[in-house]
Symmetry: C5
Subunit: 251 residues, 5 copies
């Protein structure tokens, strides 16, 4: 899983937990009905906006996005340059049955090995690339929707609590704690939206952009290899995808 | 009706109802004047923004969108492939008088059977597709407007209640309940906007996009059939509209 | 005047009035200084953003937009089809001196009767159409600005009231009513923006779009008539501007 | 200076002043530290976003924009038609040394008199027009930034005041006035942003658009004159920049 | 470092500090747990949205952007005109080993000296320019994210503090100070976002635009020099990047 995202998620929540513990017992911050209204309520509202299939597949897409890291661009360039060398020296068939770092690369190589003409390979890979983008976009959209809905549900919960408290103010001592409980849903909504849902949606969008850029690079590379371009030229060409200081000195 | 939307609407409102019941009697949450100011007031304000005809037709469009489910893409591809086979073997006339899953498909087939030239069929279907989009857009726009207006009406109602409460504070015991009633319109506005109107508008926009994509696929298919493209090629072509793992193994 | 807009404006304000009357006397809701700060203050601020000429003409454009209804698309198609028939049978001169439903149509017919070449008629009408759009846009922009400014002026008024109340809290009994008066400007601002200015701006934008579409249709029709296209073909052509179920069966 | 803007600025502030005076002495509304935190603080934050040169030149651009009024479009058309007549009758040299209403027009005429070819005149004027737009955009951007920052600084000031008040609540009588002072920065921020900075930014953007349109008209006119187009045709051509009812009857 | 930005940052914070000191001791404004929740919490949440590498490199990009000032456009034009003169009189090789004001210019000159063909120089410099833009965009994005997150973390901190205060109201004297502490996180969040993070993001975006424009100018100049354009023409060409009053009188 992506280190920065995991670190940020856990670290952020630990900071809030620390702030709670410093101030006394954490017990007053846990209220099951409040958790239900924000978490379950938000999920139901998000469900209205999508179909069941999209909703479930989006969660899967997000999980998968965090489980598998994108390969390093430098490593990918090395791998592709090596492929170009083998293809040049031993022919396309020598590439059959090997292991590749991404399914996208594997699909492209397999089609090349199977002898499909370059324009077919290009069309299929381009369509594949757009479909991956589309599916990732769904994942990000569901989390964005959750980030929109959670604070609203938190506000609905707090209003419900305030109305209950205000309708029944016989015991002045109960007012403070009742209002504390009413505020809990706003707190839960703010945490769920700002520290979980929105950052994850942003991260998915970022990763989507990067994966699409890597696949564009692989598409360029495979087309070049299939057209018999010199492996060294392939490497030079792909180097433009790296920042200057990371580029290998071109021999 | 669309399952996820129905589930989300009912589930979300039940969660709020549960939160209300847990805290005591639900009676204090029902205030007829508050309901009128938010619900009727919002509808009047939405009415300002549209013409009567648009307003009414939009509700109809939404109702229809939820009543009729979009056919499954896979089933649609199977149906069109079958049509392509019949057209090839028995000629266009064999397609007359049969039943089709969508009116759009039916219109296209009928025009083909009636012998209209391909460019006329294409023009008419494309215009039909854009008109459907346009009408659905109206439905979504009315619900979006409701989602904008409802919280504002809730705030107006709460301000009216607060001014009344503040002008008359002789009985300290009445202050709490009066403020509770004042807050009710804000609560109603938040629920109407965030748990009903905005999610339905989002759902209509989503469905609109999907229907337009399905109709684009049908348009491609009908053009191919009319041009005598091989049924197997038609199927291969349409498969690109499915995610990879759902595609049938191409024999 | 447009029925839905009038109904919405009056209905919405009546609902708020009802809510006020239900809660007791309406007297406490009228405070002349508060009305001045929100209404006059907002108009002054809107004035900063425009020139005096634009400000005044915008109000006129809005008034005119509500006074004159757009002709029904169906009626307009019938009228134009009839014009095409007369032009075909009796020549362009037979169209002179008749009455037409819109000034735009009248201008086009007159230029045709006067013998201007088709490209000149088209250029002049297109320029006319864009100028009408531009002028309506000004109307909408002034109301949008009012919708932005009114809540801000309401907040300024409430802050002024709160500072006055807080600086002078000797009489506890006066605090409630003073705060009620302070809140009135926020209430006025919310009503002026959300129930009047923004809905009218939205309506003007909507009407602008519709008028531009009707004028595009008339422009197409006049060009066709001048080029001697068959009246029946003109009708068929224009029918695409109607939703399917409203189209007359084409004989 | 532009009348509507001056009227709006003074009128708006007078309305707020009147509301203050009606409620008692204005003394409690003046608090020097509060003024400093909002006004000076906002200017410092705006300074972070720009370079010193941009910041200062933007104020100059705004001042200049208000000091010099744009010439009336009608008067400009008359002037240009007259220039076209002189150029036709007496040749370009007769235009030398005369006075023109805008520097842009003067620059164009001077280049024509100096005998530069039409395409050079056009290129230089077009570049001039874009540079003027660019410089005005800076002026508007600085005021937009001020409009964003001022309410934030007002909130910072109010929070500082609230923390001070809450930390020291020994004297209940001091609470009200202390909170009044705390609210002053929010009030100042709201006035500075909503009644001064944002309206001026909007006005500068509007004027920018109008000046660019006038310069586009002058560019068209100068090109026509240099190409020897008939003065009457020049006038007809420029009339399209006026609304219909202001156009002179074309003789 | 950029003077205006440094001045604005320090000046703005001093103004807030002055407001704090005027109101009494600054001690009550320092609360370590509150600082941790806003500052550390915000950094963790920002971390979720990016990868560790992007996060760290963005800070570096920002630091570098403030340390090195962009050269003055006028000075750059003078330098490039001088280069054009030397290249004309003494040939490209005379440019070798000299010192240039920006690495971008140095790279271009070096490639020219090394004898690369113009289209290669252009392609490499254009790619370099886009990569610089891209890297600066990352810097701005991280600060924009911090500006979004900080107020949200401030609100979370305040809610935590309010819940703690409300749950435990036995000692009325402690309520004020407890609420003061609760408000501190909102204050910290507002200062961090509005007076530091957002202005720096805006500044980075502005600088990015300016640097890209300067590099576009240098790219034009180098292409002209390599194509042997007359140095005086090069100067005239580049002068269009200056406002009129700063242009040297063209001899």
């Amino acid at each position: 899983m992506d280190l920065a995202t995991l670190l940020g998620l856990i670290g952020g929540l630990l900071v809030v937990l620390a702030a709670i513990l410093v101030g006394g017992s954490a017990g007053m911050f846990i209220d099951v009905p409040s958790i239900l209204i924000v978490l379950v309520g938000s999920l139901f509202v998000v469900l209205i906006k999508f179909s069941l299939k999209q909703f479930l597949s989006a969660v899967g897409v997000a999980a998968k996005a965090f489980k598998f890291r994108l390969p390093d661009t430098q490593a990918l360039i090395d791998e592709v340059t090596e492929i170009a060398r083998i293809a040049r020296k031993e022919g396309f068939l020598a590439l059959d049955g090997r292991d590749y770092s991404t399914p996208f690369l594997k699909l492209g190589i397999q089609m090349m090995v199977d002898g499909h003409p370059p324009e077919v390979v290009r069309t299929v890979l381009e369509r594949e690339r757009l479909l991956t983008l589309e599916r990732h976009k769904w994942g990000a959209k569901v989390f964005t929707a959750l980030g929109d809905v959670a604070p609203a549900m938190g506000m609905v919960g707090t209003l419900v609590g305030l109305v209950q408290m205000l309708s029944n103010m016989d015991d002045p001592k109960a007012i403070g704690p009742a209002m504390a409980v009413a505020l809990l849903t706003t707190l839960y909504g703010a945490i769920l939206a700002n520290m979980v849902a929105i950052p994850i949606a942003d991260k998915l969008n970022l990763r989507m952009t990067e994966e699409a850029r890597q696949q564009a690079m692989l598409l360029d590379a495979i087309t070049s290899i299939q057209n018999g371009v010199n492996p060294r030229v392939v490497e030079t060409l792909l180097n433009s995808y790296l920042p200057p200081k990371l580029r290998k000195a071109e021999a």
